[in-house]
């Protein structure tokens, strides 16, 4: 049985490289068309080719999303696009159209067809039909408990992929058009306005039932499944999927690294203690931009797994810089500033092959080697003294 796959999202090629560097076995991304997350689809055709080559050199895979719910006009150019992706060596497509699943299998046998969560698959009989259609893998809907996933996996005729982290739709994926009605934006073709996260008053026969100062929201906490990774591995799930094609490089690095370490520890030791789980939970909190919970994995999604009073995702300001270069002889790192920090701040570095390490920022220069006491401009290049070895793409966050 091969090792479970860790599948990470990427909005652009820099983030794809970060994901692979930090331990993802595969990355999924969207091209400029045909992808559900329109604002997260920043891969030109050339970018896709480049990242496929990059990934394959590092034994990682690339999956491209072609997962919109197609209208007739949307199919324009699809044949040529799929031929191009096949030529590039893309490993799989994530698809919601049964016609396309079948088409890909017939014409591009070396490129897998993975069924998108948009088809809301929740049982082995549905998977059996999807296999008949030509699918190679099914991304399960998020509405399954861990017990249900075990049973599905046991009975499934195809490998299954399970979401383990990130944003959750309030409604069954692919079956929601609230955005269409409320904003004229098509939820199933990349335009979802997240109407579920807005605030609503509740009436019964014209009488207000809800609290006028605290209206209803259908918003969900993000999913965090670190406590279930062991169970998912034991259930022979094929792939663990992190949601977040809109997310920052910091988020991707921190989340991928944490799950990478967790998966490797489980394979090495067979089990992870509750202390270690607590450690991994705290590591994931460092990247959190919305409160998180276990979703449907632990059973029903009650009010503790819902989000009230908060609309959008928060942005962490703890992430302060990314390493560009490191001069080991002088212990000086050239870094790009992401958020404000000052001299005397305690900073923490993490990297794909390094555990978290803290240091006090006691020496800082600008690009012209003038001493400075603050770094307050994002994209500013700064040289700081880091008393241990670091490398390109290591990330730095503020501790205090």
């Amino acid at each position: 049985m091969s090792k479970i796959e860790l599948l990470a999202p990427a909005k652009d090629k820099e983030k794809a490289k970060i994901a692979i560097k930090y331990g993802a076995d595969a990355v999924y991304l969207g091209g400029e068309n045909y992808s559900l997350r329109s604002r997260a689809s920043n891969f030109s055709n050339e970018d896709i080719k480049e990242i496929v080559e990059y990934a394959h050199l590092r034994k990682a895979k690339i999956y491209v999303t072609v997962n919109i719910v197609f209208h007739d006009d949307d199919f324009k150019g699809i044949k040529e696009y799929l031929e191009m992706l096949y030529e590039f060596g893309v490993d799989a497509l994530i698809i919601s159209s049964p016609f396309l699943i079948n088409y890909v299998k017939k014409h591009f046998p070396k490129m897998e067809a993975h069924v998108s969560t948009q088809l809301s698959s929740l049982n082995s009989e549905a998977i059996k039909m999807l296999k008949e259609f030509g699918a190679d893998r099914v991304v399960l809907a998020r509405e399954a408990s861990m017990e249900e996933i075990k049973e599905i996996s046991n009975n499934s005729s195809l490998p299954i992929e399970v979401f383990i982290h990130g944003g959750m739709c309030a409604n069954y994926s692919g079956r929601c058009v609230m955005s269409n009605r409320m904003t004229n934006r098509d939820a199933n073709r990349g335009g979802c306005a997240h109407s579920c996260r807005w605030k609503y008053h509740v009436y019964n026969n014209g009488v207000l039932l809800s609290d006028p100062n605290n209206p209803l929201s259908m918003s969900s906490k993000d999913l965090r499944a670190n406590e279930y990774i062991e169970d998912l591995i034991n259930a022979n799930v094929a792939s663990l999927k992190i949601e977040g094609r809109m997310k920052s490089e910091y988020y991707i690095a921190q989340v991928v690294k944490t799950y990478r370490n967790l998966i490797d520890e489980i394979y090495e030791k067979g089990h992870v203690s509750s202390d270690r789980q607590e450690y991994y939970t705290n590591e994931l909190y460092k990247a959190e931009n919305r409160p998180s919970a276990t979703g449907f994995l632990s059973g029903k999604c009650d009010e503790d797994k819902s989000l009230y009073g908060i609309n959008g995702a928060g942005v962490t300001h703890d992430y302060v810089a990314i390493v560009k270069e490191y001069d080991e002889a002088r212990n000086i790192a050239k870094i790009e500033v992401k958020n404000m920090f000052d001299l005397k701040d305690t900073l923490e570095v993490f990297g794909p092959d390094m555990n978290n390490k803290q240091f006090v920022n006691n020496m800082m220069f600008d690009e012209d080697w003038h001493f400075i006491s603050e770094a307050h401009k994002p994209t500013q290049i700064v040289n700081i003294r880091i008393p241990f070895k670091v490398a390109k793409d290591y990330m730095i966050r503020k501790v205090s």
């Binding site: 329109s38 007739d72 809301s120 549905a126 309030a170 692919g174 098509d186 335009g191 807005w198 009010e303």
Partner: protein, 294 residues
């Protein structure tokens, strides 16, 4: 062309006859739309048989792994009752129906998804019926119907389902604010978004929550041109207080033509001024991406 009326309340059963419509849609197990007991289900079934009305059962829930055996038992029961059609949403129904050799009864209705000719043909070629997605624009609708004459179903009246969730939004919220309320199966609850003024019907039950359009979809003019190219027309009575309204729609559809559609629609509007009618997505300019909607 068959006119099918959904039966939300058994109180209205006696109003149905073969002169009012060709068939009835109802359900019991595995239906988010109907929750008749098995006894009521049997009563409706017998009434339809006696009155020569076709019977279509709604099996629209998402099926959990543990329910597959029970689903199979239910489909075997449906097979024994010789129903005329089964509306379904989860592909598990197709898989089991194949085993039972009743896939020719199946009509795929995932609410959305059936938005293009290729996917629709994919299912039609397998001998299934298909209900067109509710969010199609008129141009798309006409094209798809033209390319598949007498093969497709369409909801032509009623509130449209916008979202379906396994979560209990109402229960969760009222627990959160410390005011536990049991609002299950109530059809009178409405949501109003804080910056908008229209009321969205919301229904919560053992399967979760469903949210519908504030308006009642209607398409007299367009239907005049395409009704004879459609296989089944679904007239949905969900949230319609007066069942006579759906009977009137069914009656109008039968005599609808290009010459009289405007008149009939005007009369219908005058008869029911309280109904918030809309052509829904037919003429709505829907953008695909956030950037387009400036």
């Amino acid at each position: 062309m068959e006119r099918l009326i959904t039966l939300s309340s058994i109180r209205n059963l006696n109003k149905l006859s073969s002169s009012s419509c060709e068939g009835v849609i109802f359900g019991s197990n595995f239906s988010t739309r109907f929750n008749y007991s098995l006894n009521e289900f049997e009563d409706i079934n017998e009434y339809c048989l006696k009155n020569k009305l076709k019977r279509y059962v709604n099996v629209d829930v998402f099926i959990n792994e543990r329910e597959l055996t029970r689903l199979k038992n239910y489909l075997e029961y449906i097979k024994d009752k010789e129903f005329d059609g089964i509306y379904f949403s989860d592909l598990a129904v197709l898989s089991i129906a194949k085993e039972l050799n009743i896939e020719d009864l199946l009509i795929y209705d995932p609410d959305t998804l059936m938005t293009n000719t290729l996917d629709i043909s994919f299912y039609l070629k397998r001998g299934l019926g298909v209900v067109l997605a509710r969010e199609l624009e008129i141009r798309e609708l006409l094209e798809v119907v033209k390319n598949n004459p007498m093969k497709l179903d369409l909801q032509v009246f009623g509130h449209l389902k916008m979202a379906s969730s396994k979560r209990e939004f109402l229960n969760n919220y009222f627990n959160y604010i410390g005011v536990p309320l049991n609002l299950k199966n109530m059809k009178t609850i409405r949501l109003v978004e804080e910056n908008r003024n229209y009321e969205l019907p919301i229904v919560e039950d053992k399967y979760g929550t469903r949210i519908y359009t504030d308006y009642c979809f209607v398409m007299y003019h367009e239907l005049a041109y395409i009704k004879d190219y459609l296989k089944r027309l679904i007239i949905d009575d969900n949230f319609i207080k007066d069942f006579d309204v759906v009977l009137e729609v069914a009656k109008d559809i039968k005599r609808l033509s290009a010459d009289n559609s405007e008149y009939l629609f005007k009369m219908f509007k005058n008869n029911h001024p309280y109904l918030q009618l809309s052509s829904a997505y037919l003429y709505q300019k829907i953008t695909k991406k956030k950037e387009e909607n400036v």
